[in-house]
Amino acid sequence: DPAPRQAAAADGAKVLTVAVAQSVDSLSPFLASRLLSTSVHRLMYEYLTNYDPKDSRAIPGLATKWESSPDKLTWAYTIRSNSKWSDGQQATAEDAAWTFNKMMTDEGAATANGSFVSNFEKVTAPSPTELVVRLKKPQATMTALDVPIVPKHVWEKVRDFSKFNNDKSFPVVGNGPFVLTGYKADSYVRLKANKSFWRGSPKFDELVFRYYKDQDAAVAALRKGEVSFVAGSPSLTPAQASALKNADDIKVNDAPGRRFYALATNPGARARNGQKFGDGDPSLLDERVRHALFMAVDRETIIDKVFQGHAVQGEGYIPPRFSPYFWKPSAGQELAYDPAKAAQLLDQAGYRTNSAGKRLGKDGKPISYRVLCHATDPNDKAVGQYLQEWWSKLGIGVTLDCLDNVSDPWLAGTYDLAFDGWSVNPDPDFVLSIHTCAALPATPKDVGATDNFICDKRYDELYARQLAEYDPVKRAAIVKQAESRLYDLGYMNVMAYPNAVEAYRTDQIKSIQTMPSAAGNIYGQDGYWSWWSAVPADSGGSSDSSSSTGVVIGGIVAAVVLVGAGVFFVMRRRAGADDRE
């Protein structure tokens, strides 16, 4: 990449290159659901609200303030008047209203973010600075509407939202901190700083997301200075982290993550209409069995060996990073690692071992669980092997079913246990919602929003209460009760909260905002803080020069090889000419 850098150096532009492993699914905010794409949309378009990088509180975005009516059903947002689209037009409430209305009326436009508006009754823009949303039911998440607001005057022209990918003409009109100027599938996404961004222009002139299918290649690129930042997917491996820690000019950011990593149990898949399906092992319906299984999982070893310290032992459902909602089991409640007690529990539940040490099910056959794992996730496979050995000591067999695409058995309920994990948003509503009975599919043929078919009356009650509670503190208390209930059910066993392990070059990036600012991650924040805040290092390009030497040396090597081969040929020909016969 020396050539570009030199070109960049010529006009003095500072470029921040980020290595990503995901390819863009779509650049249309109405279709995109992958992390990379939504991150890019964060940079291209303002959302109504944003999250405070310190504590993830809702703070103004396109909206400067908001309030709800006493009946909790009407929300009024004030739209800022200092945000302009990159083509010079003013961004107004009309744009926001149009965006929401489109999603409410056009199925294609609802593809990615339809859930945000499903409870909306009506959205209007009485004036350019006023946006009014009328709800069907109270909804506590109205300051967490992660929906990119698009310019109406541009998007009006789109015919079919389910097909339009927003990647044909550049630059793409937006009002975020960056403007999309170029995209090539599976190669790069290129953005230019929006100098007139209302919060202030980013410090880098350009931001490039470069695609590396292979994480090792991305890390190597970082070492060489080809890229300034590597996020890893989902994070760097322990080996990579420790290797990079020792490298010059590289900082490894090992921050508490926003994900939980859990072992989900199939509670007997069913639909809202009561129809059962799937073939989860019946023994798992016994809470004691579920508890016993989890008690035989040595979470410490998992943290030590699998994550090699780059994770925190799992407790409650929501990671400690989201402190208001973080909950952990009390001493009496906790299912601590205790294989002996686990065996006892199983015995109590009536699952005894036979002479060969195999535990028998109610049908008299040895129990063996199918554990669904993601073939692309090394942690699943590693933990799976530990599970195999730990549970075999209980007399329970395990087959690891590692698939590229786990959704089919998952949605069909044809598994016993599965590795599960979600990224949690500052507002926990979504991750809580996926365990409600309402999230079950309507019929076995449908798809529900449910994670693993959990349906529990008490949990549902708690969920409903927190959603209607607009007071943050009270709401947090209810959320914690819900987490406690979930823990006791034993269907979702959180094993760890993996850290976000990422790295960047300090000779290219002087400083960058993490989120939470104290100890937080950089890639995939809820907001544009990292890239917007990143400050270029003055030295600029020690790495650049090295890679241009690369080209020079490479060129010389190539030339020498070619000339050498040519000479060799000529010589050989000469030599051949006077040989025998």
Binding site: D578, D579, R580, E581
Partner: protein
């Protein structure tokens, strides 16, 4: 100074086989030297050595003086200059010696461009001229080798050899693998060119008779050495070396009662160049070998005027013209021979008068054992071409205890007929009857039939599965037919019948460990073991050396006598028919055009085609009648008499005069009896059954 003077040439291949062991020959400018000898005796090696074309790693000793300059001492650059410009070669297999991906014109022009510094256009013109010189249209320069027939390709090779006006042409078996008629064409062409352009010629062949016809002098090679040398005719007619005698004796002289039912051969195998016998290399096979022969090596010495031979029986002083004692009438194993013990009993002279007498009376003859009635076999044309009517209406009878020879040019349908007689090819029309019953083509019936009728194929090496031992090969038939008796004994007996004695010694051998003659015996044993009544032998000796074939033919005769076997012998060689057959059928383009007793057909042929075939035999009396053109194509059979396009009688106007020319062009002649067994399918012959046919064509 001679043009070519080879002195004490020794060639040893990288693997240690001494292929040429001290050869001296010389050739004057314009002279014609023939080199004859069995397969593997080193003829081609000698030819290649002359231009230093032997593979790398071959050791060559001695001197090869070409125009006084030693080829072996030349620098490579000089060798390259001499090649083709000084001496050129016509190689044995023209189909392989031409590069398949270049046009023949370019291949002819290549040496011209290289040696004569001609322009491309000039070379092209010259290539055209050369093609015309060898009797091909100049337009053929644009053809690729595969578009030409074998004969045409051989002509191209000759044209190529002439390209740089060399003074010496070496022709290595230029006619092997060619049809009789084409062979005659090529030989005439070479002879004519050499005389016309005053070239020196070294011609190599395994066929003494061919060389005797073409060359002035003849050298006979054995095991890498020249054992006899002298004026061609003399060496052929009256050899001074037992090997030369055997070799020339192996060529039957048609009409000579001595060779009737008395094929002559030479026992034993050609020597292995990696282990040449001590002493005289020929002594293990020599009928007149002395004790000392296994010790004393023999060198060429004078044996009469301008003749040399390497044999103890030729006295040092080269006195008497016929010093070599005649071996007894029958060949017998020499003292050291019989490594395989393959002794050949003498075939008793056939009861010729009796047999011919019986044959002369068809009415009283027993019903035929096998007969074909109006047999037609056609093949769908390749690449959507016309149907090939390979067998086009054949009637043929074969009686018990009778040997019938089926002769004809290549491609006339002999093999097809043989295969359909065995039910290997279903006939398109007509039928085959065996023992009076028509052939049933159901698989069970065929199996029974094939127990009684056996096939022996042309190529003994190909007919044996290289992965089966001799025992397996012979027992195969027994196993297929679930032979109940003692398999081992049956196999042993069949092998000894076929002259492989003691049989046990051969059981575990693989085909590649046997000589060609032995392989053919194994094949015959495999056929005999089922005790068949009839043997169909398709070119049983075509791929065998002249010296060996006599043995196989003798074996066939003996079996006929011992087992009362009938045989249909398919061959392109009229001499072979003379050697062993009672009756002969001449086939042309899918039809029998003449049939009758051997004596009658071969000494007084009535069909012009038979006459032509006989006339081109190397030592046939009179002027040969060489039919021009290619072997006929069964997918284009002309109307009228199928032979009319090539018929000399029609061409000379004789038919016109006899008033049958119209019929020749329009009417397919029936096969007509000319009295007795003799029948010919010819309008002309029908009009003149009394006149002497061989005089007609002049």
């Amino acid at each position: 100074m001679s043009l070519l003077d080879v002195r004490n040439l020794e060639v040893t291949y990288a693997d240690g086989s001494a292929a040429v062991r001290g050869v001296d020959v010389s050739l004057e400018a314009g002279g014609k030297l023939g080199i004859a000898g069995e397969s593997g005796c080193g003829k081609s090696t000698l030819a290649l050595a002359l231009l230093r074309l032997l593979p790398a790693g071959t050791r060559v000793g001695g001197e090869i003086l070409l125009d006084g300059e030693d080829v072996l001492a030349m620098k490579w650059g000089r060798v390259r200059a001499v090649r083709w410009a000084g001496a050129s070669i016509v190689f044995q297999g023209a189909m392989h010696s031409l590069n398949a991906v270049h046009r023949v014109g370019d291949q002819i022009a290549e040496p011209i461009l290289l040696h004569r510094k001609a322009t491309a256009a000039g070379a092209r013109t010259r290539a055209g001229e050369l093609l015309e010189q060898v009797g091909l249209p100049a337009a053929h320069a644009r053809a690729y080798p595969h578009e030409l027939s074998g004969g045409q390709r051989q002509r191209v090779m000759i044209a190529m050899a002439l390209a740089c006006d060399p003074r010496l042409i070496i022709a290595d078996e230029p006619t092997t693998a060619l049809d009789v008629m084409i062979q005659a064409q090529i030989l005439r062409l070479i002879a004519g060119l050499v005389t016309e352009q005053d070239l020196a010629l070294v011609m190599i062949s395994h066929d003494l008779s061919v060389l005797a016809d073409t060359c002035d002098r003849l050298a006979v090679m054995y095991a890498g050495r020249i054992v006899e040398e002298g004026p061609a005719r003399q060496v052929f007619d009256d050899s001074r070396h037992p090997y030369g005698k055997a070799l020339s004796g192996a060529f039957p002289r048609i009409g000579d009662p001595a060779s009737r039912f008395a094929p002559r051969g030479l026992p034993g195998d050609p020597p292995d160049p990696a282990a040449v016998p001590t002493g005289c290399a020929f002594h293990p096979r020599c009928p007149v070998a002395l004790e000392s022969c296994s010790v004393d090596d023999q060198r060429l010495r004078e044996a009469g005027a301008g003749r040399r031979a390497a044999c103890v029986h030729v006295p040092e002083a080269a006195a008497s013209p016929s010093a070599v004692p005649e071996p007894e009438a029958s060949p017998h194993p020499g003292p050291g021979a019989g490594t395989d013990g393959a002794g050949i009993p003498v075939p008793g002279p056939a009861p010729s008068s009796d047999a011919t007498g019986a044959l002369g009376k068809p009415a009283s003859a027993p019903p035929p054992l096998l007969s074909a009635e109006g047999l037609h076999v056609s093949f769908p044309g390749r690449h959507g071409g016309d149907t090939a009517r390979a067998v086009d209406g054949v009637d043929l009878d074969l009686r018990a205890g009778e040997i019938v020879a089926l002769v004809g040019e290549s491609g006339c349908g002999k093999t097809t007929l043989a295969r359909s007689l065995l039910g290997l090819l279903p006939p398109t029309a007509g039928r085959v009857t065996f023992d009076g019953r028509p052939l049933d083509y159901s698989s069970g019936a065929l199996r029974t039939y094939r127990k009684r009728v056996q096939l022996v194929l042309q190529d003994p090496s190909g007919s044996l599965n290289p992965r089966h031992t001799v025992y397996d090969a012979v027992a195969e038939g027994l196993r297929i037919h679930r032979y109940g008796g003692d398999e081992r004994a049956a196999v042993a007996e069949a092998l000894s019948r076929a002259g492989l004695r003691p049989a046990e010694r051969f059981f575990q051998r693989y085909p590649h460990e046997l000589s060609g003659g032995q392989r053919q015996r194994v094949v015959i044993a495999g056929a005999l073991v089922l005790e068949p009544k009839l043997l169909v032998a398709d070119e049983p000796v075509a791929s065998l050396d002249a010296s060996v074939r006599g043995e196989i033919l003798a074996l066939l005769l003996r079996l006929r006598d011992e087992l009362d076997l009938s045989a249909l012998v398919v061959t392109h060689d009229l001499g072979l028919a003379w050697n062993i057959a009672d009756r002969v059928a001449v086939m042309y383009l899918g039809r029998i055009v003449e049939t009758g007793s051997v004596e009658q057909v071969l000494s007084a042929p009535r069909h012009p085609y038979t006459q032509a075939l006989l006339s081109v035999l190397p030592d046939a009396p009179g002027e040969p009648v060489v039919l021009a053109g290619e072997p006929p194509d069964p997918s284009r059979i002309s109307a009228g008499c199928r032979f009319h396009a090539r018929c000399p009688v029609l061409a000379s106007g004789e038919a016109e005069r006899a008033g049958v020319a119209d019929a020749c062009l329009t009417r397919d002649p029936e096969i007509l009896g000319g009295g007795g067994e003799e029948q010919a399918a010819c309008h002309y012959a029908a009009t003149s059954s009394t006149s002497n046919p061989s005089e007609l064509i002049r």
